[in-house]
């Protein structure tokens, strides 16, 4: 098995003291920021990008791998103990997990989440190791038209399917696509929309956009509507997994993995859909339906596993096609490019040792997280005692660091602030932020590949549907666009109980403190 020996080689590289140290650092940082409100893994990686200027690529990516997985773990801890899911993908965990904690089974909820994450993360990472070389072989045959189709599918998914308001998702995507246009056209070397500023001729830095939208925008938004007052912390009480808990957990773990990995690996992926699906599946399959809505362990085990499996799945298109399908993946892609490394079909051959070390350290980091997280849940919660004024002032401090260190140009900070204000306005008026980042990164991918495809075919539009791959992907994109509309038309205004449940989950964060604000016209 080629993949196995490559992976063992990766372990040999990852198990050096320095790399282990950075894996630990990444895992701790990732968990810490996963726990903290207002910071997600995407922002953490963006804020820490400056370290990539000095670290070796391998070491830097080992750390990012730790942050990436750690952020998922941290999110589950706060979901369960505080009922405050930091990311949309941990909403489902909060739903049943917090109820378990309330009824004195917090320790069991944390344990099933942690072990489920570990099991799913490990299986999914191994699947990544197995699948990546195969996908790369297929990806060599992937034409520019196929890439274009993939980018279109990602646009449709991120703008219309994931958000609450498709039009606003589209608006956000448009802003991102515009930002992606600024700079020099790759194919003809012409400057576009640089308004005469030479610094813009290389385009707008993804780091500036990501830090601006996430860190600065989030801080401004929180400042504008600061919530005061603490939330209730549940004790991690009760026993860890009993035999009965384990018996009820292992199947959801595996089912969550089976749902999370492939859906995460789709270019339209992300972790939200698999966690919702996993929750719905466990609700249907459980032998204890009466417990759902009162703290069912299956409802924690499945979504948590799906969440982590999807996180590993997202790495498949990122590493093999160079296509980021989540905001975090987009930042990691920027980190690769900062080293002059272009993820894509040739990555596995040109940077083989880097990729395998990365995969090995994902497995190592996953194990570290299991060891760290079970006993330390209480410590993480202590982090939340940082007063909000200091927390958000600190976020801005790191935003300044991350952005200024790229070019040492104060102009970048001004641009950061402008984008931060844009991010604030977007949040304030309900425009989702992620489509803008995805548009910025995938816009140029879509454009160059469309133009390459047409140039290679001498202008024959038929090239866009020339391969089965592009036909299927474009059909999926059309389906994703039309299906919600059709479903709404067929079903009318009546929502099913499942939908209500899922909708409740979506709004769960609001109910943490105050009643849902405005319910009209979702």
């Amino acid at each position: 098995m080629g993949a196995l020996s490559d992976l063992l080689g990766g372990f040999a590289d990852a198990l050096t003291p320095v790399n282990l140290l950075f894996a630990l650092l990444g895992v701790v940082l990732g968990t810490a920021v996963g726990v903290l409100p207002g910071i997600g893994p995407a922002m953490t990686v963006a804020l820490l990008l400056p370290v990539t200027y000095t670290l070796e690529p391998t070491t830097a990516f080992i750390m990012f791998a730790g942050i990436y997985y750690g952020g998922m773990y941290g999110g589950s801890t706060t979901s369960i103990l505080l009922n405050t899911p930091g990311e949309s993908s941990s909403i489902m965990t909060a739903l049943e997990g917090n109820l378990m904690a309330k009824s004195g089974r917090g320790a069991a909820a944390l344990a099933t989440a942690a072990i489920g994450s570990f099991v799913a993360g490990t299986i999914a990472t191994l699947l990544l190791a197995l699948v990546a070389p195969v996908v790369v072989d297929l990806a060599i045959g992937i034409t520019p038209a196929d890439y274009f189709a993939l980018a279109v599918l990602a646009f449709v998914a991120v703008a219309t399917v994931l958000g609450a308001s498709p039009l606003r998702g589209l608006a956000s995507l448009g802003v991102g696509l515009y930002l992606g246009l600024v700079g020099t056209d790759v194919l003809t070397g012409q400057e576009r929309f640089t308004v005469g500023v030479p610094q813009l001729s290389d385009g707008i830095d993804v780091v500036v956009v990501a830090v601006g939208l996430f860190a600065v925008g989030e801080t401004l938004y929180v400042a504008s509507r600061l919530r005061r007052g603490p939330v209730e912390v549940m004790a991690a009480s009760g026993s860890y997994l009993t035999r009965a808990d384990l018996r009820r957990s292992w199947k959801p773990w595996l089912r969550g993995t089976a749902l999370g990995f492939p859906l995460g690996a789709l270019p339209a992926g992300g972790a939200e859909i698999p966690t919702f699906l996993s929750y719905a599946a466990e609700r249907k399959l459980t032998k204890h339906p009466e417990e759902f809505g009162r703290g069912a362990i299956e409802g924690v085990a499945g979504p948590e596993a799906a969440n982590n499996a999807a996180a590993a799945g997202v790495l498949v298109p990122l590493l093999t096609l160079g296509l980021p399908t989540s905001a975090t993946a987009a930042i990691i892609l920027a980190a690769f490019q900062g080293y002059g490394i272009q993820p894509g079909p040739t990555l596995l051959s040109t940077e083989s040792s880097l990729v395998w070390t990365l995969i090995a350290s994902l497995l190592i980091g996953n194990f570290m997280l299991l060891v760290l997280n079970l006993p330390l849940a209480g410590v993480w919660v202590k982090l939340l005692r940082i007063p909000r004024p200091y927390l958000y002032a600190g976020i801005l401090l790191f935003a300044s660091l991350g952005c200024y260190a790229v070019n040492a140009d104060p102009l970048d900070l001004v641009l950061l602030l402008v984008i931060g204000l844009l991010g604030f306005a977007m949040r304030r008026y309900g425009w989702p932020v992620a489509p803008a980042v995805i548009g910025l990164i995938l816009g140029p991918v879509a454009e160059t590949n469309l133009r390459r495809a047409l140039a290679i075919s001498s202008g024959d539009l038929g090239v866009l549907v020339d391969t089965w791959f592009s036909r299927i992907v474009l059909a999926l994109a059309v389906l994703a666009l039309v299906l919600p509309v059709v479903l709404r038309a067929v079903r009318g205004r009546r929502a099913t109980p499942e939908e209500l449940q899922a909708g409740e989950g979506l709004r769960h964060r609001e109910t943490v403190g105050a009643p849902p604000a405005d319910e009209e016209e979702r």
């Binding site: 007052g229 603490p230 939330v231 202590k382 939340l384 909000r388």
Partner: protein, 137 residues
């Protein structure tokens, strides 16, 4: 008819808060007073373990009910503990305020300031300060 006396207690779920509460209950019984328990939070952090919520809150209420005193539990979220207590005292026209003291080194006091000190300076009624767990009565 004369007004019923009022005893205000500044309470936090710590040994010193415990001590303040028990002394407050004792004093209220002695004076036949109404008890006002204030548990406040600055509310500037997502988690404040000194702010009573959930089960501990229920337990406190049960405990006060059992004591047989007329009581009121206030849980304001404000900028400053001292201000909240001073507000409670002036509003109820309290006859006594009971607070718990934290042991601190000189350096610690210099750095952190002292809520107790500000309370002593701002509050307009007699104050009983309690340190550590109370003697068994």
């Amino acid at each position: 008819m004369s007004r019923q006396p009022v005893v205000v207690v500044g309470h936090v779920p710590t040994p010193r808060g415990r001590a303040a509460l028990e002394h407050g209950v004792e004093e209220a019984h002695r004076r036949g007073a109404r008890l006002v328990v204030v548990n406040s939070s600055r509310g500037d952090a997502l988690v404040d373990e000194e702010y009573l919520q959930g089960d501990p809150l229920r337990r406190l209420q049960d405990e006060l009910t059992v004591s047989g005193l007329p009581f009121e539990l206030r849980r304001p979220i404000g900028r400053d503990v001292a201000e909240e207590l001073a507000d409670a005292v002036s509003e109820t026209g309290a006859d006594l305020l009971v607070i718990g003291l934290r042991r601190r080194s000189a350096v610690g006091k210099l750095l952190m300031g002292s809520a107790a000190q500000r309370i002593l300076l701002t509050v307009e009624c007699p104050i009983l300060t309690v340190k550590g767990p109370p003697r068994p009565t």
